[in-house]
């Protein structure tokens, strides 16, 4: 059967649909997680973050879910718009000062009108 939270390299949705992008992280010591959006020709931009003491955090049209048991993150985008088309990366780190971000594999989201 299909694994829950399977990472997909690409995701195509219709405008107005809800999008769910999945990510698995590797380090059990990571306690801080961030989603980035990277548009063509630009550097990654911060979308939303979550600390390990939470399992859900909501922003404007975006929600991040954290499942520490299976080391899985998801990014939900409500009412997806063409401007949401980009590559999305999750990143893990710790709250200890000086720790760099480790990036997961990206998912390319394509939104058609």
């Amino acid at each position: 059967g299909e694994s829950v939270g399977l990472h997909l390299p690409t995701l195509s949705v219709q405008e107005g649909d809800n999008s769910i992008i999945n990510c698995a992280y590797s380090n059990s010591a990571s306690d801080y997680f961030i989603w980035y959006k990277q548009e063509s020709g630009k550097g990654p931009q911060f979308i939303i973050d979550i600390r390990s003491n939470m399992d859900k955090r909501q922003g404007q049209r975006v929600t991040v879910l954290l499942n520490k048991t299976v080391k899985h993150l998801s990014l939900q985008i409500a009412a997806t718009q063409p401007g949401d088309s980009a590559v999305y990366f999750c990143a893990e780190t710790t709250t200890q000062a000086g720790t760099a971000l480790i990036f997961g594999k990206g998912t390319t989201l394509s939104v058609s009108s």
Binding site: D49, F103, K105
Partner: protein, 116 residues
């Protein structure tokens, strides 16, 4: 958040040459991070650059190939030495939020290098 400017934004280089990428930040930051993004891939950390000390390199990256300078709290350079086509990538400079620490990183637009 900090504003980061990188130069050059893109370049085409010949095999065997070296290129230095500059990263300028509009505020003082303790730590700067250099990442590489190969075509269609995720970001990989090259090194962490602290002002006043030697850069710390990640596994697979060495100072002879990627020398880094960090002369002050607003500027850093990354040199890609003796380039080969495998070095064709986007190189990104980033800084942590605030004057110290990492966590949330702000990125420059990147420098896209193509090595022929």
């Amino acid at each position: 958040s900090a504003v980061i400017s990188q130069k050059p934004s893109r370049d085409i280089c010949q095999r065997g040459t070296s290129l230095t990428i500059q990263c300028q930040v509009d505020s003082q930051v303790t730590m700067m991070f250099w990442y590489r993004q190969q075509p269609g891939q995720s970001l990989t950390l090259i090194a962490t650059a602290n002002q006043g000390s030697e850069a710390t390199y990640e596994s697979g990256f060495v100072i002879d190939k990627f020398p880094i300078s960090r002369p002050n709290l607003t500027f850093s350079t990354l040199t890609v030495s003796n380039m080969s086509p495998e070095d064709s990538s986007i190189y990104l400079c980033s800084v942590g939020r605030g004057s110290s620490g990492a966590n949330v990183l702000t990125f420059g637009a990147g420098s896209r290098l193509t090595v022929l």
